[in-house]
């Protein structure tokens, strides 16, 4: 199927219907493999002990939180530059998922910080910039819920999303630019990962599993949004018919 055909919501819905069962199955298999490796195979860290297990949820959540904003930024360009009918749907469907993963990143980071740093929270650059991203996710969700017309809400949200994208390099490089309590990058870094394969493999498996989970939920949420807009159009036509 040519990519341009996906601009047609009906064809997109048909494709989602075919893909979802496979994605659900792949997600369940990857999650089972990831959790088994994380909880029963990966060794304790020589310094952090068993608390390193929190990393298998915390780090993939952090990666996804940033990746989802990046995806929404690409969708925002699709909304503003090309007015692609599904770009705005994709962005709106992704925002609550991004907020969920950012919340999970902040919460698990806090739970990991207490035994390792002696505190749940510090206002260092990494933690603060991720908190700002979480608040921006909530702001975007509120914007979409406040503006009734989906196309107007989509354009306003696209601008806010692109402004918020400035935060992505700040989050990524905050640990290099400022003196932070948060450790520097140990997987995506020049010179390759600094983590032993016995911990890196479960981490990457969990990252794959949560990415598949996001893909599944995102496609399902996009389908819901298309149906919601179809319902809205039909309700407006019904109201016009009643007043005519």
């Amino acid at each position: 199927m040519p990519l341009i055909d996906l601009a047609n919501p009906s064809r997109f819905l048909a494709l989602v219907g075919k893909m979802l069962p496979w994605l659900v199955a792949a997600t369940l298999v990857a999650l089972a493999a990831g959790l088994w490796q994380a909880l029963f195979v990966a060794p304790d860290d020589y310094q952090q002990g068993a608390t390193v297990k929190i990393m298998f949820v915390h780090v993939p959540s952090a990666w996804l939180a940033m990746a989802i904003w990046a995806l929404m930024s690409i969708a925002a360009l699709g909304t503003l530059a090309w007015r692609h009918p599904l770009a705005d749907v994709a962005a709106k469907a992704a925002a609550p998922l991004g907020a969920g993963f950012t919340f999970l990143c902040l919460l698990t980071g806090s739970l990991w910080g207490r035994p390792m740093w002696g505190t749940y929270w510090v206002w260092d650059a990494r933690l603060t910039s991720v908190l700002v991203m979480f608040l921006m996710y909530l702001g975007l969700i509120a914007l979409w819920r406040t503006v009734e017309d989906p196309s107007r809400a989509g354009r306003a949200a696209a601008i806010l999303t692109l402004v918020g994208a400035i935060n992505l390099p700040i989050i990524k490089f905050s640990v290099d630019w400022w003196n932070t309590l948060h450790q520097p990058a140990s997987v995506v870094r020049v010179g390759g990962p600094a983590i032993h394969p016995s911990i890196l493999v479960p981490l990457l498996t969990m990252a794959l599993a949560l990415t598949l989970l996001f893909a599944t939920l995102h496609l399902a949420a996009m389908r819901n949004e298309i149906l919601r807009r179809r319902v809205r159009t039909m309700q407006m036509l019904a109201a016009q018919g009643a007043s005519a």
Partner: protein, 63 residues
């Protein structure tokens, strides 16, 4: 699986992950059910999907 002296932090972190993921899955599933129900109600009333289109109730046997 020995979780050591900080077991409570690990257990709460994984429980929170289950809750957050469960909430996201529930949101998507419940929203799908709601939209399908609304769509079915409108189609049952014969409401057209687009301007200028006849409603399902007016289409007779047309699929």
């Amino acid at each position: 699986m020995a979780l050591g002296p900080h077991a409570i932090f690990i257990v709460v972190a994984y429980a929170a992950a289950v809750l957050v993921v469960g909430a996201l899955v529930a949101w998507v599933m419940l929203d799908h059910r709601t939209q399908r129900r609304r769509l079915a109600e409108l189609e049952k009333r014969g409401q057209a999907r687009r301007a200028g289109e006849r409603g399902a109730g007016e289409r007779g046997t047309e699929k």
